[in-house]
Symmetry: C2
Subunit: 207 residues, 2 copies
């Protein structure tokens, strides 16, 4: 059975996906969760702020796990990138451009006004960047280059969501995904050409 | 002398940079603009929504003009990209990570809830994409490739703002700018190698 806490979390995530942080009220949350008012403060004594932090952390973990799943199921790293972007574009289209994950919107809303939530969004972006950088390093790309690419992947994905939601079109996410794929292909070509030219850099380890 | 309408526009832009759309009230606007309540509805009969549309259009034009200025002052297209991203990173640092331009935040806040404002943000992103695509085409990059790169540049810039504001660090914007510069360099190398190999594609015209 789904706990009241979980129902509240799910309802808040859905409301954030449509309205963001500021336009979501505690009253809307308890109504959508079909939970008594008191249960929200029982599960989240810090009220809306604590609830928002839990949504950011939960969504951050979920999307990190989804990225890892898609990445590890793909035939190679470049395909993993387009699989992930194209999958996100399809979800956006199917859900009439609701926010695919509410973290980006909340991050911008709170960046200058709520230090606790700003730090929560920063931790999620840092975790995603680490995750992508680890995968790219495992594919043989040097550590520094892998981190640069990982930062760019996370930024480009979030920005492409913004453009696709504004345009009500999957094209910005698909297009950005193709360009990101090209970046990863290029980095892997560099690895192979250095390995082939007999530099001291080791060839990419097999995972 | 600055008109009341202009004072209201400027005050709203500043409030949106800090708080976004939903957390900015008409009362805050008239207080910050030192304008009587009635003057807001005199200048913007549609109230907060019409005012927000004017902020989106004005900021969109301003940042488009800024991009064109920075681009045309740079020694070459790749330098133009890092000049623009590094300039934005410096402004973010100097202003304690206030939103450098309020359009991204408002775009995410309204994407699923306000059709008029969603369309206004979409027009701005489309204009910026056109502007960047025109410049890249003028540098000799094929039309389709130039549009792909332009979409990615706008997405990556907006996403990098999000990451830098969340991290209170200029690094995501700087890093993403370096990677975007690499993309443009790569596209220009492709143009030159095709021109050198005697294809029918014309070499990049001088601007």
């Amino acid at each position: 059975m789904v706990s009241t806490r979980q129902r509240i979390l799910t309802a808040t995530t859905e409301l954030f996906r449509r309205n963001g942080y500021h336009a979501t009220s505690v009253k809307q949350v308890v109504t959508a969760a079909e939970a008594p008012f008191g249960s929200l403060y029982h599960s989240f004594p810090g009220g809306k702020e604590e609830l928002a932090e839990a949504v950011i952390e939960t969504s951050g973990r979920t999307y990190g796990e989804l990225f890892a799943l898609v990445y590890d199921a793909a035939s190679d790293p470049p395909s993993a990138i387009t699989d992930f972007f194209d999958g996100a574009a399809a979800v956006l289209e199917e859900t009439d451009y609701l926010d695919i994950c509410p973290i980006g919107t909340v991050a911008l809303e709170v960046a200058s006004t709520n230090e606790r939530l700003r730090q929560a969004t920063d931790r999620v972006f840092a975790d995603w960047t680490d995750l992508a950088a680890q995968r790219l390093t495992a594919a043989g790309i040097g550590r520094r280059k892998a981190r640069e690419l990982a930062t760019t992947l996370v930024a480009a994905l979030q920005g492409a969501f913004m453009l696709s939601r504004a345009a009500h079109s999957p094209e910005p996410v698909r297009t950005t995904g193709r360009v990101m794929r090209g970046l990863v292909e290029e980095a892997l070509r560099d690895v192979r050409s250095r390995a082939g030219s007999g530099s001291r850099r080791r060839p990419p380890p097999r995972r």
